[in-house]
């Protein structure tokens, strides 16, 4: 049984037509299920837990990257499969090979399921990445430490991939969300008058690291939503999430 969760921003009129098309396509494919539209009073966690009590085995998040990140954290510990229908351009959907809008329904109907890794920071799971916009951060591995010597650098702990527009990293298998490893990526940024250029990155695969700082605690942002302060421990939760993927996935 399917449970479709529509994110709050989809109550905007401009999405009505697209949502109608999606619902019609789901009906054609005979994978219609319970629909739940989130609002201020309806909490995503409660909706998912109620659905599971009623026998839901596939939770489909309809929304954007933020919607998918939020739901991952809720269903990571539950025995359900995640499906996604992106209504806008989505990095997560692109990596998982799920097309935007109505076409995502066909991918969902194919039910090609993969178990992917998740990252974990202080009981909070993340599907995409944790970012640290401060070069004072120190990454401590088992027996060695890494620090940035650049003035400006973006430190990212990646699961799905660190550059969606650079697909060579998937072809070369530098970043695979099924390998049981996360990657710590340090990208020095050279700011010019008109743009910011990313110079050669450093990449360190790992299963567990500690994040600390040289001075004041630094801020770690998970999937652009939750914020933590160092010191922290980051671990990988291998094959934690069952997710419906498309045949055009990047890994």
């Amino acid at each position: 049984m399917y449970l479709y969760i529509y994110d709050t921003f989809l109550s905007d009129k401009k999405y009505y037509s697209l949502l109608n098309k999606i619902e019609n396509r789901l009906a054609d494919l005979e994978i219609k299920g319970k629909v739940c539209r989130l609002n201020i009073l309806k909490n995503m966690k409660e909706v998912v837990e109620d659905g599971i009590k009623q026998g839901v085995d596939t939770v489909v998040a309809v929304g954007n990257d933020l919607t998918f990140s939020k739901i991952v954290n809720i269903i990571a510990e539950l025995n359900v499969t995640l499906g996604i229908i992106p209504v806008t351009k989505s990095k997560i959907a692109e990596i998982l090979g799920v097309p935007e809008g109505e076409a995502a329904c066909d991918t969902l109907a194919q039910r090609l399921i993969q178990k992917i890794d998740l990252g974990k920071i202080s009981n909070q799971y993340f599907i995409d990445s944790a970012t640290i916009d401060d070069t004072n951060v120190i990454l401590s591995f088992d027996k060695f430490q890494i620090s940035s010597i650049a003035k400006n650098a973006l430190v990212t702990i990646c699961n799905l991939g660190f550059l969606a527009d650079n697909q060579s990293i998937y072809k070369e298998r530098l970043s695979v969300p099924t390998d049981g490893l996360l990657e710590a990526v340090i990208a020095p940024i050279k700011a010019t008058l008109f743009s910011k250029k990313i110079k050669q990155q450093s990449i360190f695969p790992f299963t567990k690291i500690k994040l600390d700082s040289k001075a004041e605690p630094v801020t770690v942002t998970i999937d652009q939503q939750a914020v933590f302060k160092t010191p922290l421990e980051v671990t990988v939760a291998p094959k934690k999430l069952k997710v419906v993927v498309g045949s055009k996935r990047l890994f």
Partner: protein, 129 residues
């Protein structure tokens, strides 16, 4: 032989220590490693090691094979082949099965071409533990 090794640069590289990064401690890797930054301590990999022209490595190195263009202070123990390009600066002993040195490279240390055998590497590693 001493041209850039594009095939090995990114392909199958699992760890890349970029030019803006400093690594301190005992770095142990299973896959190919590319060093373009600073390493202080020990550097071990069971696969190929590439040390770029701008890299500064102050470490005891163990690898399966190595291609060195940068500055290394410390002993280098390699199971297979070592290639030193013109910009390589080595202060330390090199032990490998074969060593190729380009004109211009500086080596201050002993060269041993008996090769470093894999079991010895492992034993040494275990003894340290």
């Amino acid at each position: 032989m001493f041209k850039d090794e594009p095939g090995k640069q990114i392909k199958n590289a699992e760890t890349i220590i970029g030019p803006s990064v400093k690594v301190e401690g005992d770095f142990v890797g299973d896959g190919n490693v590319i060093v373009e930054g600073i390493v202080v301590g020990n550097l071990k990999t069971k696969n190929h090691l590439t040390i770029g022209a701008e890299a500064k490595v102050n470490a005891e190195i163990e690898a399966n094979s190595a291609y060195i263009s940068g500055e290394v202070t410390g002993n280098l123990t390699v199971v297979g082949d070592v290639e030193l390009t013109a910009s390589a600066r080595i202060k330390g002993d090199i032990s490998a099965s074969s060593i190729a040195i380009e004109r211009g490279a500086q080596v201050n240390g002993r060269l041993n071409m008996n090769g470093a055998k894999k079991p010895e590497l492992t034993e040494k590693h275990e003894n340290k533990k």
